[in-house]
Symmetry: C3
Subunit: 358 residues, 3 copies
């Protein structure tokens, strides 16, 4: 890009990613002739968003399409979240996720009470999550929480009366990340949103990681199981004997999608249409990085046309030499995050009526 183009881009409200696949949200809207399932969105009013199992395919598609609408248009002037206050309570620091939610809120004229690092601030005086939930009742209209403990959701909900959005709870779930992942997939290949996706357009999905202990991967897998008409096969690449974990055993058994487990990434790589990789395994209180065998790079034997996904931040498992290629869907995936979170917030906070032409 030349300087003139860069400057013009820099002053657009909705800039996109800088490298890799550039996805056009309009294509996703066109896939259903611009119709968005408003009923599915309205059902989210006042709901807490805790676990991807509370969604169905219809809701995921509706949220992705609302996100696409928000991405194509400049709705700031309609101030859809005017007067609403969100508390971003990050007891486990994550600048990426926190800023993503806060950007979504500010863009729509919502307001933010920010707790960037609950571990180092005053909350550390030993206060219980139940008492913190009670405190939040009169401080804001919605709570967005990340916490290192899996049972933190249950604890804060003892007294919290406001809708709660789970932004990651220990080895539990990360439902908004999974929505973001599917938003990228649906923009990339809009036919996937149809229950009758043509067989030759269905995807063989590979997941490198251990869903049982990695919340982002677990939530992505859980949501993927809802797309039986779009996913022809799922292959889990993991060194663990049982990578799935208790949470997903039943949904996997009930899903018509065939699922295979292997620890040989080289054998399966060239068959995958989509490769989902993640760097971080949450094991108890510490993180563990994946080992070097699973590293993706330009030299990897990726299928032509295959795309790589990653919830970011990344470590060594995903080389920067893929950034400039069409395999790079992870930058487009990240670039969609703000719009998906906007779609969710507008639905939960009952402000759909503020979005004109919806």
């Amino acid at each position: 890009m030349n300087t003139e183009q860069l400057r013009s881009l820099a002053l657009q409200p909705n800039a996109s990613n800088s490298k890799g696949q550039l996805l056009d949200p309009q294509r996703l809207l066109d896939a259903t002739d611009g119709k968005i399932d408003r009923e599915a969105l309205e059902a989210l009013a006042g709901q807490s968003i805790l676990n991807p199992r509370q969604f169905d395919r219809r809701t995921v598609v509706a949220l992705a399409q609302l996100a696409a609408l928000l991405e194509t248009r400049n709705v700031e002037m309609e101030k859809p979240l005017d007067g609403k206050i969100a508390i971003t309570a990050f007891f486990e620091a994550s600048t990426r996720t926190r800023l993503s939610f806060e950007s979504a809120l500010l863009r729509l004229d919502g307001k933010v009470l920010s707790v960037p690092d609950g571990q180092v601030t005053g909350i550390a005086k030993g206060e219980s999550l139940a008492d913190i939930g009670e405190m939040f009742n009169t401080y804001g209209d919605i709570v967005i929480m990340r916490h290192p403990d899996t049972n933190s959701i249950e604890e804060i909900q003892k007294n919290l009366q406001r809708p709660l959005i789970n932004a990651g709870n220990g080895s539990g779930h990360h439902p908004t990340q999974a929505l973001i992942d599917w938003y990228a997939l649906l923009k990339w290949r809009p036919e996937l949103c149809r229950p009758d996706c043509p067989p030759e357009r269905r995807i063989h999905l590979g997941i490198i990681g251990t869903p049982g202990s990695m919340r982002a991967v677990k939530s992505f897998l859980r949501l993927s199981l809802m797309f039986a008409g779009a996913v022809s096969k799922i292959t889990l690449v993991s060194e663990m004997a049982d990578p799935v974990g208790l949470d997903l055993t039943e949904p996997i058994e009930q899903s018509p999608i065939p699922i295979e487990v292997t620890n040989d990434v080289q054998k399966v790589l060239k068959e995958l249409d989509v490769v989902y990789v993640n760097s971080i395994a949450f094991l108890g209180d510490s993180y563990r990085n994946l080992d070097g065998r699973y590293k993706l790079e330009l030299a990897s034997d990726l299928k032509p046309g295959a795309v790589v996904m990653h919830p970011l931040a990344r470590n060594d498992e995903l080389s920067e030499d893929l950034d400039d290629t069409d395999h790079n869907l992870y930058f487009a995936q990240a670039a969609g995050a703000v719009f998906v979170r906007q779609a969710l917030l507008v639905s939960v906070l009952q402000r759909l009526n503020r979005i004109s032409d919806l």
Copy 2:
């Protein structure tokens, strides 16, 4: 509550506490036939709020009633603090107090410059509070400060020309907490706001703690001394020989309210109408928890109809098994904090004229 009720509550702008006494702010307004002493509020214009001794009974009641008005109505649309910037400078971290002020500001369309933890950020380069006060002059319209040093108020005021709200200074004072405490008491028993409260409705107030070294307790006691027509007796429960400290010796001597000191909580407990407890003693640079003898719980010998107050956060001195009982006034107390701080900010920043029907 069923799901429908919870959802409806969650979308109300002014949710209340989840458990314990539910207080109706309208009753406090009715106690003076809806009339609020506007002159008393106007006298706060441009004033720093440093020490409860600068208030009188009349001002405390007026602020409580403005808080009640704000709690009963949805004044956000009037944007009373539009264009005003507050600096929340917490040199001692306190997420509860900081977010309470910030919520009060954002709800009324004020703006916030937040210093969540002055001890760990750049201010630590060794800058004096006097220089920090000078810096704040052009950054905001009002400064809300918490600091571990008692003399921090004096230091920052060397150059600061903006109104300063003391949100806790070492073992000094915490005047807004005391206002919040009395807001809860006045909502709970509105007759207490009258100079001629009937004798049988007056309260025997017990304070467990050491006002001399605990700023919240000290400020609450200081304010309580102004309510001679409402408080029949005050009993201090403390293991210290002189729990009161130099600050309050004179006001106590001048007050007509009889004051007793004991270290036997069991003996006095069943006579108290209101029991104020606090967990944290500020002794020099460290905190000290109260010992186990003073723990309040369901099994404690509380008088029927008595209420328990606590500025929160709590430790072991106040058991969660009281949460679901009518003794629990502490949740209602916390739920009033945002409205009291709104009332104060609107008065100090001279925006009373933005509140319609005042």
Copy 3:
């Protein structure tokens, strides 16, 4: 000042400094008959502000005059930055600089995504600055970054497509501080903004410090070299053999301003019209304070009418006993910071048309 005056000041939107020189911004506007070089400001649209060398005298004067216009008027109601989001990404904490930018943004109705301390929050998971830049593309409209590494600018710009304002990069530059410094000088002596400043009004400028390793001093010196018609001589006071460093060797050689280096502050002090002092030398990863010989205080042999500048925060090198004297230009210098940053943000974000009478 009496209480009434203090209160009235406290409720003005644009309060000034409390001590030392009180500068009237109107005098700077009058110096060019109120005409501001709008073309120079428009050339900043969409530009990143990385290094003072990208400015020229004309642009510095235009920005200073826009700052003066903003300081004399109450433009908040025009909401010039309405709908714009800035990310303040401080990987090296600096409460002073961060709050100054954030105050500038909030006053003009812009919004802020704040990263108060990038070193202690989630970014620390090892994410590259290139990936962080990519993330910021969809989060905000402009990025304001401070970073301990000099090459951080280059790193984040690998993917960042939004304008970037350098708020200090290692031993590199701090261009907005230099603009603030010159804003104070031009308000103090408005003739300095003219290419034909009368010789007797030109200044002999002394800089105590090592521009090669101190970014604020380096940027101030770089900008000062553009004012050949206003600066009669520059004297660098430093204990280093070559205090200038590679960056500025060429601009100094090309400048018509005579430059002298000495390590004897006492000898030169009484000849200086302006003494610029700074406390902090950035040497690798650590800071080094200047030694005691360079301390300025009331007893120092300052020329009558001379002014002392300091970017603050200060340590022992600048005594508080100068605060109450007319030598104190540093408080006025700090008081102008918000307005200079406003002028820059309005220009870069293309909102000059929102400022009426410009």
